[in-house]
């Protein structure tokens, strides 16, 4: 694992990001925009599954667009996140909050998309908690490092 992290840090792309504060801040801005989309989608889809938001409507009217917004957010956040991670892969890769963030990201995505057609309240509650946990771990990673 450390071998991969060291290699990642040594790539040209990592060097380019490391040396440019403009590029780093632009990537970070995109990462935050993706975060907002993910949270918006997670709240809409899973409060829908919980029957809280639009109790009279078929749950799919909320889970389908909600999951789409999460997917859009991930398409923005994941590539920008990888580019932000690369220049400091060794330090970030060994940060507990970062490891927690990645674990929650994989679990939340698996529950959200793997169980997309499961419209039970339990799945909604689990999914929502996982996405909120991801947001909390992300905050802890950037703020308490």
């Amino acid at each position: 694992m450390d071998g991969i992290l060291t290699w990642l840090e040594a790539t040209t792309v990592a060097g380019t990001v490391r040396e440019s504060i403009g590029l780093t801040s632009a990537l970070s801005a995109l990462h935050a925009l993706g975060f907002t989309c993910i949270m918006g989608g997670a709240l809409f889809a899973n409060l829908g599954r919980l029957g809280v938001l639009f109790p009279g409507r078929p749950v799919r009217e909320l889970t389908v667009p909600g999951s789409r917004l999460i997917a859009l957010g991930l398409m923005v956040s994941v590539p920008s996140g990888v580019l932000l991670f690369a220049p400091r892969a060794m330090v970030a890769g060994h940060n507990t909050f970062f490891e927690l963030k990645m674990g929650l990201l994989l679990t939340a995505a698996a529950v959200q998309f793997g169980l997309l057609r499961r419209e039970t309240r339990a799945i909604g509650a689990a999914s929502l908690l996982l996405w909120i946990g991801l947001a909390a771990a992300a905050c802890a990673f950037i703020l308490l490092e």
């Binding site: 801040s25 935050a32 907002t36 949270m39 918006g40 409060l47 639009f54």
Partner: protein
């Protein structure tokens, strides 16, 4: 008193000291700010998409608003209260920061857009409340809202790289 002098006075207050000097004051405020962002903008986007005729097209616009409002309002209260408190700690740096000015201008645009929608467009809501694709003025309000919040988020994150 100039705006900059007001900013400098804000920075000399006890609240500013709490924001900048206490161990966890700043991280806690930023975490609240980001939670508020997810809740407010994350929910307002669904009302905007309804105005654009993209989601919940079988549900009347007024009902979509009524159901989303408590979440949006809670998010906006959290975001504005934490944002104003953080501002007190770094007022003059923020005042001089171009991204903060862009962010503030876009918040004003989003606010003005929402106010115009409520005062003018929504007044004739009864006529198009159930339309799956609302009239052009309502669709424009939805698009302006989404675009202005995108710029607010981008400029907000850029600020932290150019201020400290």
């Amino acid at each position: 008193m100039t705006l900059l002098q007001i900013c400098e006075w804000l920075e000399s207050t006890r609240l500013a000291e709490l924001v900048t000097q206490s161990l966890y004051g700043f991280p806690i405020l930023v975490a609240i700010h980001l939670s508020g962002l997810g809740l407010s903008v994350g929910m307002v986007v669904w009302f905007d998409l309804r105005l654009l005729g993209k989601v919940l097209t079988a549900t009347p616009v007024s009902e979509v608003y009524r159901r989303l409002a408590p979440w949006m309002v809670t998010g906006f209260v959290l975001m504005f209260a934490s944002g104003a408190t953080i501002f007190v700690g770094f007022a003059s740096a923020a005042y001089n920061n171009p991204y903060f000015r862009i962010k503030l201008a876009m918040i004003l645009l989003a606010g003005l857009n929402a106010a115009l929608f409520h005062v003018y467009t929504q007044r004739r809501l009864a006529g198009w409340d159930s339309w799956s694709r609302p009239p052009a003025a309502a669709r424009a309000a939805g698009a302006i809202s989404i675009l202005s919040w995108i710029v607010v988020v981008l400029a907000g994150r850029m600020m932290s790289y150019t201020m400290f």
